[in-house]
């Protein structure tokens, strides 16, 4: 801002001491808590968001499973529906994380964002609180689907479930941060939906949720490797299917230049993506008036 006239100097009264670090933590907590409260209270959204993955699994999965028959995976020992199941968990996380961030646009539309933005808290805390809120919702939404494992013939052990939790968390975090970054630039709900249709659906289709990312045309291979969701869904699949009779579960693994990425490497890429996008979201939040 520019001050055009010479400002008269006015002595400033000392500010009451408020621990700003604690204030930011409190703000992150309450912003996160509000999101969870709303998510929990909106039972219909919960039901609806479970219906979609079920529909995919039952109709799409069963249909393709029977038409592909044993052809899928060339005798790898898994059916299409087994292959698809972790992808559907990933889909659920992807949609929930990004739609969770839409609440920012919603809050702007209905005025509540103003209450948040004028509060004497750091803007970065708002972005972090929102990203964590989206992460938690998406994680819950994805992990709930684990109860379906017996119905699609996927065997889970306690150990695999324990491994799946952090993997679901990094995928959820990456996509929630992505959603918050996009939402922080959006002014209207319509705009957000347009962007989401051009970003979210391609992200889903190219992520390997529905088909293996091997032997694809060159251009498509490149796009699938650019898609951050690929790095989140692949490790979930490898861990979820590790007890399902695959001779070598790493044969599913995402490759770059013929080299199979390790699970920690994939999770690391996902986490880095989330951190960078959260940084973008923070900058966007700090910038806007």
């Amino acid at each position: 801002m520019t001050v055009e006239t010479a400002a008269p100097t006015i002595a400033t009264a000392p500010a009451a001491p408020i621990d700003t670090r604690m204030a930011s933590l409190r703000a992150i907590y309450i912003i996160w808590y509000r999101d969870i409260l709303r998510y929990w209270r909106d039972r219909w959204r919960l039901v609806a968001s479970l219906a979609q993955p079920l529909l995919f699994l039952v109709v799409f999965g069963s249909g393709l499973s029977s038409s592909l028959g044993g052809a899928f995976g060339r005798g790898s020992g898994i059916s299409y529906i087994q292959f698809m199941y972790p992808g559907i968990i990933g889909m659920s996380i992807l949609f929930t994380a990004i739609f969770g961030a839409m609440s920012i646009v919603w809050d702007r539309e209905f005025g509540f964002l103003k209450e948040v933005l004028v509060a004497p808290i750091d803007r970065w805390a708002v972005a972090v609180g929102k990203a964590l809120g989206g992460t938690t919702q998406a994680m819950i939404q994805g992990l709930i689907l684990l109860v379906l494992a017996p119905f699609v013939g996927v065997k889970l052990s306690v150990l695999t479930v324990v491994e799946l939790v952090p993997l679901a968390a990094v995928l959820a975090f990456g996509l929630a941060s992505f959603g918050v970054a996009i939402a922080s630039m959006m002014k209207s709900l319509q705009g957000f939906q347009v962007v989401m249709n051009f970003l979210m659906m391609p992200m889903f289709f190219l992520s390997g949720a529905l088909f293996p990312l091997t032997n694809l045309p060159g251009w498509m291979t490149v796009l699938t490797r650019i898609d951050p969701a690929s790095y989140g869904i692949d490790p979930i699949r490898r861990v979820a299917l590790s007890n399902s009779g695959l001779p070598n579960v790493n044969s599913l693994g995402l490759t770059i230049g013929g080299q199979v990425l390790s699970i920690p490497m994939e999770a690391g890429i996902m986490l880095a993506f989330g951190v960078v996008l959260l940084g973008v979201a923070v900058v966007m939040f700090e910038r806007r008036d």
Binding site: M1, T2, V3, E4, T5, A7, P8, I10, T12, A13, A15, A16, I18, M22, A23, R26, A27, Y29, I30, I31, R34, L37, R38, R41, D42, D107, F110, G111, F112, K114, E115, V116, V118, A119, P120, I121, D289
Partner: protein, 328 residues
Amino acid sequence: MTDTVIEAKGLVKKYGDLVAVAGIDLEVRAGEIFGFLGPNGAGKSTTISMLCTLLTPTAGVARVAGIDVVHDPAAVRQRIGLVFQDPSLDEQLTGRENLEFHAFVYSVPAPDRRRRIDEMLNLLQLADRAASPVKTYSGGMKRRLEIARGMLHQPQILFLDEPTLGLDPQTRKSIWTHLNELRSAKGVTIFMTTHYMDEAEYCDRIAIIDRGKIVALGTPEELKQMVGGDVVTITSTQPDDAAREINTLLGVTATRDNGSLRMEVPDGKAFVPRLVRELSAPVDTVSLRRPSLDDVFLKLTGRAIREEEVSSRDWNRALASRWMGRRR
């Protein structure tokens, strides 16, 4: 510490070539209800936004609660309560949950949270509905909840931007009762904007703003004294002739206002019989009244603020927000 809680000097806000606020000076004293009165587009909201640190002034200085609004906006925000013109509640949450959210982001100490929330809910008569979602509240209840929220972190000053817009007269009155109660219970200074003339009467002092400048400042009584004595209004089938006669025979300037003639005279009771006796032009009706703030505004700006001047945009917005609130 002086008892001045808001101080502005030469406050200007420009948007490109458009000057929204053209240099405002004012001082607000601790504990008073200060009204900012003017038509839409006069610069009320822009000024209040600058004082609340929501907008950065183009030029000038403002100090709120002793702190420069440009220098340390966060410290100012900690010391002020805000009630916005547009609704800003989370309708999915309950009244109490909305207050809890606020208590957290404004760093209300943990041991005080519950006590202060209960106190505010009681003061604004929302205690029995505190556990209901805000979407089930009436317009007046939502406003009261926003006022309760604005007071939760014990601000020195409560800013309200058109707090009664879109509310029915009875609800408007109850909002005022609550504001007065808050002032006496909490000693808070209240700074508010309105374009309702009758509401300005509740204020201790008023600044009348027009085209980005303060045209008058004082108590409602002082402002009314700016209009000399009484206001006499007549209607006539020949208003032009009547106006000429009033000017030549009685030495009073009458102004045309929507087919009626309006004049300010020192002693209305003595003037009316003379008027009726001496005028040859037909007089249909005569009315005599004490000056209102409307008259002050008219005298200062040559225009009237009327209810119709509430722009259709404002009404649409008020209606839309209610409708959407119910729909959510």
